[in-house]
Symmetry: C2
Subunit: 201 residues, 2 copies
DNA sequence: ACAGAGGGGGAGCAAGTGCTCCGGATAAGG
DNA sequence: CCTTATCCGGAGCACTTGCTCCCCCTCTGT
């Protein structure tokens, strides 16, 4: 039966090349537009930029949400991975932390929808993307454990990331480097020299 | 001429009591709804809660923006004032800073639209509300000047406030006290013990 | 009590946006 | 080259939402 199912696939025609091409075009256009305008964008705009009609778009992605989810998952993972890479490349554990935030926040500045999505889902731990990010942060915590003030949790670092991400978005247009100051301040507040316990929730 | 103008007012009828009452009802309803849902709310909802019709609402406030602006200016000023009061009541300059943020951020949690408005206008210095807040912060800086790390600006503290305000909004529903930890971290990063200069923009 | 200025109300308009429908075009398989 | 499954495209529908129009009624001033 499993064989029959597997064999049933070749019975169908191969996918048409224009269909594949269009699907890619849609995803690419959507990524572009989402980065610029966030998820509130008009679907027609995506279709237009992708050079396809509405019917084509909705054939591939029956709901706007499907398209957004597909694109954002990809972009989010890439974003998280680039931040992780930045952290790994640093030798010093503290530099790893710094570079991680630096890279992640720079990414925020270039992608409105990622932040939006991140903000909406940061507290939903069962999402693949957030899960991934959590693991990176836990790794960073472990590496820098002696340098970090006692009691700091992964959630603290995650929330800090969302919070600063928002600051990045706000300052991006008028004072694009200002958020670096806030980052520095926050990271210094995370240093082990501060031994006072953080307030319990 | 000034007299004539002043005297010309009584020539017109006194405003009708129902008109005054309705205006108040609209403002009150709008404040309520804006706090709950932010500025994206449907005007009909405001009219319904105020117990008036659309015509009445639009007679008093020709544009949705007018109503929102009127309400938000009032709420924003009250918010800023309550934060200022909290700061003044503290003896210790550092406690003043802490209490200021504490009060301001607690206010954020209860008023979606204030944060929204704040976020959108934080960099527009010629707005009455922001101006007010700026002055409070400058006062705080002056009081705590020896306790603050060198190079910290009013804008840094303002941006920190918006940034944390966003964190407050996000955590309000699932972990309503979590932002206090972030606040503690950030404020500790602002202490004078940290002498490394902040990155220039 | 009466006249009429002015306010009240809500149906309805216009524009924006997610999504569908279907005639026509096109690429895969023979 | 032909057949036909499959896909393309965009006009159009349904719904939301900011805002207007206009008839009717209420409250003010006499």
């Amino acid at each position: 039966m499993a064989v029959a199912e597997r064999e049933s696939a070749p019975r169908r025609r191969a996918p048409r090349v224009d269909a594949v091409r269009n699907r890619e075009a849609i995803i690419e256009a959507a990524a572009e537009v989402l980065a610029e305008q966030g998820t509130a964008v008009d679907v027609r705009e995506i279709a237009r930029r992708g050079g396809v009609g509405m019917g084509t778009l909705y054939r591939h992605f029956p709901k706007k949400e499907d398209l957004i989810h597909t694109v954002l998952r990809k972009e989010f993972l890439e974003w998280a991975e680039s931040a992780r890479q930045a952290a790994i490349d640093a030798e010093d554990p503290w530099m790893a932390l710094t570079d991680f935030y630096q890279q992640a926040l720079t990414g925020c500045a270039r992608h409105r929808a990622i932040m939006e999505n991140f903000a909406l889902t940061w507290s939903v731990p069962d999402l693949e993307g957030i899960q991934q990010l959590r693991m990176v942060i836990e790794e960073l915590c472990a590496r820098a454990t002696n340098l970090l003030r006692p009691g700091v949790t992964t959630d603290d670092l995650l929330l800090l990331l969302v919070s600063l991400g928002h600051a990045v978005e706000l300052t991006d247009e008028c004072r694009p480097r200002m958020w670096n100051r806030l980052l520095r301040i926050s990271l210094d507040g995370l240093r082990a020299e501060h031994r006072e316990p953080l307030p319990a929730e």
